[in-house]
Symmetry: C2
Subunit: 345 residues, 2 copies
């Protein structure tokens, strides 16, 4: 039998396909490995008190553009998005370790700015920086952060766990981060075409902040605890509402019906979407980087969350494993997995 | 007063200087943050059983050269060097999370090879892969691994803790990894000058393996435990014996006197050093990447470790904080910190 030696392209698999391929049948041999790959964070520990671990790698030219991401904001964001993964397990973030690789294009002042942003985020979330590594790189900046958190076993919320008829909730509002990025990229092109032009960012503070300085919703985790609500499933919105709904659906073996009119989008984001001839709903579904929490609760808990600011009920779980959006015109369309193009995220 | 806006170069500080600068006065606010930056791993947890965390970032063109580092070996090495940091705390490695960034130059088969190497290492050390991240990059491969381990509070060994008159010990032998790298780089140059020449690597298996597939000395951690010996201080040798001795000295506030004749170097490494007109002792002191354990024990424990294969006593701690080597000719020289050139490690 001849071996197939044709070069296989990673783009044929997509990001989630590649992760599934690499991590298929990974054994968990240690008693302290409670949960491995497949949720927002790993769950470790033999006692009631568990340790949560999550990691992200951010690469210049892929995840950020230093021509419009200020280094201090970038540091803040890099820490916040990792901390967000711990929040998405209904856990308390406690520590991070920070690895940086950068070329000699970066001065000491530049690295100080970046690190100051990371420190600001750790102060904001009550997290300690406890380690890291530093390396040179041949080109560009890479930031790799691992976030650690803690929670009692009984408090942890996984992607699995949503039940038929549960309410689907989201914190804050969606699409802002994506539209902020569109705006920054448009103004960059204007500037490149004519360096005398000043970027026209006025009146767009909100979407810019959503893109440049997103927050982990640790406040929502605390509010839910205070209200006595433990979500039945939860995830954070890094890749867009559509993708995260599908993750909850896959893990929980339920479907979700969402209502367009219930999906929270800031008015300034709607205006900007129209300026770009984009459908605000599409931006919310596929835009990503809002780092809001998407979670399900039993219907019985509705009254308890109704009092919490900035939580919207946007749909409910169904026995049929079909994920769909009911539009404002009472039409409906199915949510499908988005392909991931290697080199294009 | 005018602000000094002159660009400050990172190379003026060096790696350790930069880390010290960035992490100066980092607060530890969480009760579970027992030890932060400054040892081989952070120590976390409020109970007797502690969690150890260490992270390393490996960058193509800086830490490895894919023209002679096979991807499978590279994966093994990337995992082993992180696991080595957990061993250096006298702890048991239990989990790793793995982040990869790579350009579209890499095929699926290439990433599979790399990941297979990582998996091999996790099997060898009884460690579980519990998470990670995958990203594209504009150029080259970046591997960022965070290793997690566990130990009872009373078992953990720090860099601090060496006492006057303690014996300084090292596992295995030194300089092999560095000489293996010299050999691979020489043969690469020969090949680049004349692609018809085949690399001449015969008879150099040992040093090649030391460079391409180093091992974390978890076996030594276990042997010491079995022998009832808890080192008073410990570190792993990633940057060279000299640098690590200085770390133990700084942390423990003692000096060390080393004896050239006691420093273990494999005969094939000595021969190869002579072929390169290099002093084998210098290779051991400054070469790095051997990932052996350097540790101190009370003199009273000497008999207990004498029976363990592959542990050498190479010197002792002194009250005077001077670090020196007594040469085979009974001369002596002081160990000084090596500068780190950003972009040249």
């Amino acid at each position: 039998m001849l071996e197939d030696t044709t070069r296989k392209e990673i783009s044929d698999l997509g990001e989630f396909g590649l992760i599934a391929h690499l991590t298929e049948n990974l054994p968990l041999n240690n008693k302290s490995s409670v949960l491995g790959v497949g949720d927002d964070a790993a769950v470790l520990g033999e006692n009631k008190k568990k340790t949560l671990v999550s990691t992200d790698i951010l690469v210049e030219g892929v995840h950020f553009d230093l021509s419009f991401h200020p280094l201090k904001h970038l540091g803040y964001k890099a820490a916040a998005v990792n901390i967000s993964d711990i929040c998405a397990m209904n856990a308390t973030p406690t520590q991070i370790v920070v690895s940086l690789a950068f070329s000699n294009r970066f001065s000491l002042q530049a690295i100080d700015e970046l690190y100051d942003g990371i420190k600001l985020a750790t102060e904001a979330y009550g997290v300690d920086i406890v380690g890291g590594d530093i390396s040179s790189s041949r080109s560009g900046l890479v930031i790799s952060i691992t976030a650690i958190g803690e929670a009692n076993d009984s408090e942890i919320v996984y992607r699995k766990g949503a039940k038929n008829n549960d309410l689907l909730c989201v914190s804050g509002d969606l699409s802002g981060a994506y539209l902020g990025l569109q705006l920054l990229e448009r103004e960059k092109q204007v500037f490149l075409a004519n360096p005398d032009m000043q970027p026209d960012l006025e009146g767009h503070d909100y979407v810019l902040q959503r893109q440049l300085k997103p927050e982990a919703r640790l406040d929502i985790v605390k509010e839910l605890k205070k209200a006595g609500v433990k979500p039945t499933s939860m995830i954070d919105i890094s890749d867009g509402l559509s993708s995260e709904v599908l993750h909850l659906s896959n893990a929980s073996k339920v479907g979700f019906t969402l209502y367009e009119t219930k999906i929270p989008i800031d008015p300034t984001a709607i205006n900007l979407a129209e300026e770009f001839n984009l459908d605000p709903l599409t931006c919310a579904l596929n835009g990503g980087e809002d780092y809001e929490l998407l979670f399900t609760i039993p219907q019985a808990d509705y009254e308890k969350i109704a009092a919490i600011d900035s939580i919207s009920v946007i749909g409910h779980a169904t026995e049929d494993i079909i994920n769909k959006v009911i539009t404002k015109n009472d039409n409906s369309f199915e949510l499908k997995a988005q392909g991931w193009q290697h080199g294009a995220e």
